[in-house]
């Protein structure tokens, strides 16, 4: 399955991904309409700033997802085919077990209504809204092998440049 990967050295901290996420999860699907909605549309990913580093945090849709394990009402499930961990908001009772066990803190709260919200990888889009919104290519929507390939090529290019400089000296 395709997942959202993060190139950690690229984030500018503009939080465009956060806005795009909230807008995509609104009724009107446009910024200005979304800003006026009640309940307020909520984002499902977060740009954090630990140790002075800009760090987008995205649900990992874990293979053995703790949030799925603990959901007593069956609102949170992992799709057997796509591997996407989704939440049926109409079933959620707001017990916050999922929020307690998520190792990444990816479970948010719909403030006006006591339910949990989390990333659903934008089921109606070909590419999740946060990835499309990212102006620097920090967020990448790819298979794990494809992402590894991107990282490998970047690293190889860096090594090659260093090698060339050394050779020319």
């Amino acid at each position: 399955m395709k997942e959202i990967f993060v190139r950690l050295d690229r984030c500018m901290g503009c939080k465009s991904c956060e806005i795009a996420c909230a807008v995509e999860h609104s009724k009107s699907h446009n910024l200005f309409g979304a800003m006026a909605e009640t309940p307020r549309p909520r984002k499902r990913l977060y740009v954090e700033n630990p140790e002075g580093v800009k760090m987008p945090m995205v649900c990992r849709h874990c293979e053995d997802a703790p949030c799925v394990e603990v959901c007593r009402v069956g609102a949170t499930v992992k799709d057997a085919i796509t591997g996407i961990v989704t939440k049926d908001e109409s079933m959620c009772i707001g017990c916050w077990m999922c929020a307690m066990v998520c190792p990444y803190g990816m479970v948010g709260r719909q403030k006006e209504v006591k339910i949990a919200v989390k990333c659903d990888l934008c089921p109606s889009l070909m590419v999740p809204a946060c990835v499309s919104a990212c102006p620097t290519g920090t967020l990448v929507f790819a298979e794990q092998e494809e992402f590894a390939e991107i990282m490998r090529r970047d690293a190889a290019a860096q090594i090659a440049r260093g090698h060339k400089i050394k050779a020319s000296i």
Partner: protein, 614 residues
Amino acid sequence: MKEAREKSIDQASQEMLVVAARAGLETAWDRLEKQKPQCGFGEAGLCCRNCNMGPCRIDPFGEGPSKGVCGATADIMVARNLLRSIAAGAAAHSDHGRDAAKTFLLLSQGKAPSYQVRDSAKMQRLMDEYGVQSQIALAEAVMAEFGKQDGPIQFTRRAPKKRQELWQKLGIDPRGIDREIVEIMHRTHIGVDNDYVHLILQGLRASIADGWGGSMIATEIQDVMFGTPKPVRSQVNLGVLDEDKVNVIIHGHEPILSEMIVAAASDPELLRLAEAQGAAGINVAGMCCTGNELLMRHGVPTAGNFLQQELAVATGAVEAIVVDVQCIMPALGALAGCYHTKFISTSPKAKFPGAIHMEFHEESAYETAKDIVKAAVLNYANRNPAKVRIPDVKSDAMVGFSVEAIVEALGGTLDPLLEAIKSGAVRGIGAVVGCNNPKIKHDYGHVNLVKELIKNNVLVVTTGCNAIACAKEGLLLPEAADLAGEGLKGVCKALGVPPVLHMGSCVDISRILVAAAAIANALGVDISDLPAAGAAPEWMSEKAVSIGAYVVSSGVYTVLGTVPPVLGSPEVAGLLTEGAASVVGASFAVEPEPIQAARLMIDHIDSQRKKLGL
């Protein structure tokens, strides 16, 4: 990728967009696509870079920060950002006015031999208005407007008495052109003015100093030096480029330079040189507002409006694109590098990557203009005929409707127009102005809005890139009256004028203010009582923000075609779209769809007519 027909409604532009795409050339439309999605904080006006505790952002969803580091709320941020745009726009127009005033001063001192007074009757009227006896005293008095500390700016006194009193009551009667711009920069500095209403009022004051100050000075002094426009016929669109001649495009805003280029292009020495290069002559064509200035005064053809600057170069037939200031895309340097075209910058204020700088000074204007045209002529030999592709598309236009020319067309008095408005033959007046913006299909907003207005008997006055869009569509011809409603059609046919009157460049929106004031005075009312409305369907520049602010401050309801970055503050947005009506008697509306925008304007005009008992 978007197809060419989705990018522009103009046939010549569509043709060149295909040529550019096939050649792998990048245009503004491509760059807009690459910018997408554009930052939502910027779109909403919710980012502040005014100090280095920031940059700060406010979360429009209320989850994250609701204040900047200094404590600025969304209202304060949005208002400060808007004010800085007004300051930049007012500065651009007014610096243009300053250059015109400086040239006039040098000319009056005998230091600018290339220039002369072409309209001495207008100069005499201005001397009377200023209460001075000599040309040099007029030049000094006009120049002094920029540095005045305590006002008043003389031309603001052209506004109806009621309007002036309102400005004074609100504390927005400008004290000096430069002062109001500087005060915006001061007030928007960290920790100065933090009351959004108080901030916006200062924005209005600076904008009035633009419309009734800097811009109006530019218009009036240029008329004195280069002649007041009179109706003249010309042609517009990329088809005005001539395959057999040396093509020189003059692009930007100030006629100070371009007037000299036009003169140099008919210099016998340079014509002989062109002939020796195998060219059939020298063809000067305008672009953007410097094009409008020359089109209005001399009938020099115009190659296109803002979004056509790159397309003109892509014809491969342009020997030189000569620029001064404002709305010149830095992209031209790289693009010109793909052709033989020389990209020549001339202003001491404006340099560009990939341009040759041939700096222009008033004292040696004609000599520099000759050097520039000579460089273009000598470049003719480098043209690659295989790359030349000039669209066979151009339209005729009747232009040159200064206020003086309109009054003359009416038979020396405004009465016939007033009668037509009273009888309802002319339902009202629509001022449609402004830029191009690739966010809106090129010319689509302009042309459709204007057509809908004239169909409903609204007489349209136009400037800037809207005027060029209308010209390309054939709306600036007396024959276009056939597209107008019965009432307007009759009036246009009787007077032999088009239903859309080209009043000039973007600084010439001051002509529209003068006309509005004259009509209001003749009816004994304020401008805000007139059956009139304004629109900027494809606006993009900070100058347009200043224009919008001074037009609304002058009492004209204005519809914008693209959303200004103010929606992050419902309070500021509400003030501009509703609250302003009870303060200055006019407000803004936003409507991207041109037919709907026309409807808003017509509804406003109808309600104004009702209030006047018409």
